[in-house]
Amino acid sequence: MKLHVVHIYPNEMNTYGDRGNLLVLEKRAQWHGLEPVIHYYSAGDLFPKEVDIVLGGGGQDSAQSDIQKDILRIGNKLHTLVDAGVPMLMVCGTYQLFGNRFLTVDGKEIKGIGVFDVETIGGAKRLIGNIAVETEEFGTLYGFENHSGQTRLGQDQPELGKVARGNGNNGEDKTEGARTRNAIGTYMHGPLLPNNPQLADGLIRLALQRKGATVQLKSIDDELAVRSRQNAAKRSY
């Protein structure tokens, strides 16, 4: 069975090794006996017709304002996919653009598409370190945060999880990331998926459920990920 993975803005939003998230989804899909099909969507392209999972990475500030116009152009399309339950993982810069707006340190406003009811304000201090986050659906997630944007959730916006170690959205309210239907926004790099295979498989499972597929995921040898998680649990911020 084919699994269509769309990586948005791969050339503009690709700092912090987020390419690794795509590699993990692609390889795990193969190991589960699926046939991953990778689509790259860049500014100005036609959005792919078949979409099972959408991934987005972090970017430099310059790249963020470059793609802002384009993401507003495809905002309706992305909303439709979110409403249809398509799983998405938006990291850092794309998480911010999936929010309502981002106010940069120098006072510029970058409007987002509002999939998440969140607002980000550029801060003077960068929040950098090893982070651990507790989630109901995916257990503990380990990652590395590195952001100056401070994000606040709207009243009814669920977070991705609670910060067990680190700063998360803003370093104050112990929330990290956001979750709207099956779309996830997060500040966690590392990249996120290699050390959290349960989340990678979770995204694949949600995608299959939405397609109405009854494919059973195979068991994968995750010994290395298990060991890296044991180390991550002991690490300090």
């Binding site: 590699l23 993990v24 500030d61 310059s62 290395l224």
Partner: protein, 422 residues
């Protein structure tokens, strides 16, 4: 007065540190002098007749600085330089105060200083350098240096502070664009169009389809061009002169660094005969932990390579790994290594497919093995303890290559120098 006071102070602190047996505390005299005698460093360096030359950029600073220093010395210049691994002010102040005469006079013609991108920019506010060489701007440890545009801006501002000459990489689009309008003369180094495919630029490292990068030769005249390389020999063109030279410092990225060094030395000493200058490259040996080779007691060779960001790791894999080579990868996560492992996922390890990595080591040995798992490269042993890993690795027959992050490299280098049981 400042020159004498700072020099004496630096020398006495260095003496005290030596008495207490802490030879590694290179920076302490510099720290003390900096606090007590402000303005010491610019005052001292201003006496040098050929002024200060800064070498900065993401990758290749240490190797290129070593090449430039040795080429200038071979041509009669007395060169002051900063010791490897201490490219911050304090290290520089320490070496200045220790090498100055007691009267505060510096017995040198020129200072050639390696500086990281952030410090170089800061340094130019204290003292304008005569020449600045900006090697390249590439994605580096993002938790320390920021994003690549930020890094390129720092390097560009440093280059524009040069009073007599800017030397930069014609093939680095961020750096070459930044100096196009410079008032100071710009000397470009570069590689011939047919070699461009061996030198992917930052954006191509992470481009979605790296097999078809949009490679375009820079449209600026090159002061020095790397026209060809094969094995350990490289061919350079300086003006009309074309010369081939065998190098101890191998690897395609180092052939490019040598082009940068030639361009800088040529700008400082325009009267040296080009063919002679190229030939002098032959004498330069690899710098500390940058492709340095150690002979082990069984007669096999072990090469130690610093890897510190996706570009340098990729260059190391392309230059040094042959099918028959034993490979160990040692990754730590202290601040000087990058605490974030994300950078490992911007390195394409698929060139290692078909090989087994003997060992991954260091505090992130498991993370490294996990990274390789996703590029289908098996790892035989995971040994976080660097000494134990080195011992196992050295016991293998045949030639060996180690790729190590900064603090892992320092640790392994020290162990290899001691050569106990290796």
């Amino acid at each position: 007065m400042r020159k004498i006071a700072g020099t004496l102070l630096g020398k006495s602190v260095a003496g005290a540190v030596r008495l207490r047996g802490k030879s590694s505390a290179q920076a302490l005299p510099g720290l003390v002098v900096e606090k007590i005698v402000p303005g010491y460093l610019p005052a001292m360096l201003k006496q040098l007749p050929d002024g200060v030359t800064i070498i900065t950029g993401t990758n290749g600073k240490t190797t290129t600085t070593k090449m430039v220093v040795e080429l200038l010395r071979a041509n009669g210049k007395r060169v002051l330089t900063n010791p490897t691994g201490s490219n911050m002010t304090r290290g520089i102040i320490s070496s200045v105060s220790q090498q100055a005469k007691h009267g505060g006079k510096l017995p040198f013609d020129i200072a050639v200083l390696e500086m990281d991108e952030a410090y170089a920019k800061h340094f130019t506010t204290m003292l304008r350098p005569k020449f600045v060489l900006g090697l390249n701007a590439s994605r580096d440890q993002l938790d320390r240096f920021g994003e690549v545009d930020t890094v390129a801006k720092l390097i560009s501002e440093t280059m524009l502070a040069a009073t007599e000459g800017i030397i930069t990489n014609a093939d680095d689009k961020r750096l070459s664009a930044a100096v196009r309008e410079a008032k100071t003369p710009v000397h470009y180094f570069g590689v011939s169009p047919k070699l461009l495919k061996f030198f992917p630029r930052d954006d191509e490292l992470v481009a979605i389809d790296a097999s078809t990068p949009t490679l375009q030769a820079a449209d600026v005249p090159l002061a020095v061009e790397l026209t060809d390389f094969e094995g350990a020999t490289a061919t350079y063109r300086l003006g009309k002169t074309i010369e081939t030279v065998p190098l101890h410092v191998t690897g395609q990225h180092n052939f490019q660094n040598a082009a940068a060094a030639l361009a800088l030395v040529r700008a400082i000493m325009p009267d040296i005969e080009p063919a002679k200058l190229i030939k002098q490259l032959e004498l330069v040996k690899p710098a500390f932990g940058r492709g340095q080779t150690f002979m082990l007691k069984d007669g096999s060779a072990l090469q130690l390579n610093l890897v510190k960001n996706p570009a340098s790791f990729r260059q190391g894999l392309a230059s040094y790994v042959k099918v028959s080579t034993n490979v160990m990868i040692a990754i730590n996560d202290r601040v000087a290594d990058s605490r974030d492992m994300s950078w490992l996922w911007d390195v394409d390890f698929s060139s290692l497919q078909g090989q087994t990595i003997e060992l991954t080591a260091g505090s992130r040995a498991v993370d490294m093995a996990l990274r390789l798992q996703y590029d289908a490269v098996p790892v035989k042993n995971i040994e976080p303890d660097l000494d134990a890993a080195l011992k196992t690795f050295c016991a293998l027959p045949g030639d060996k290559v180690i790729f190590a992050s900064y603090t892992a490299m320092l640790h392994l280098h020290a162990a290899l120098e001691r050569k106990k049981d290796l």
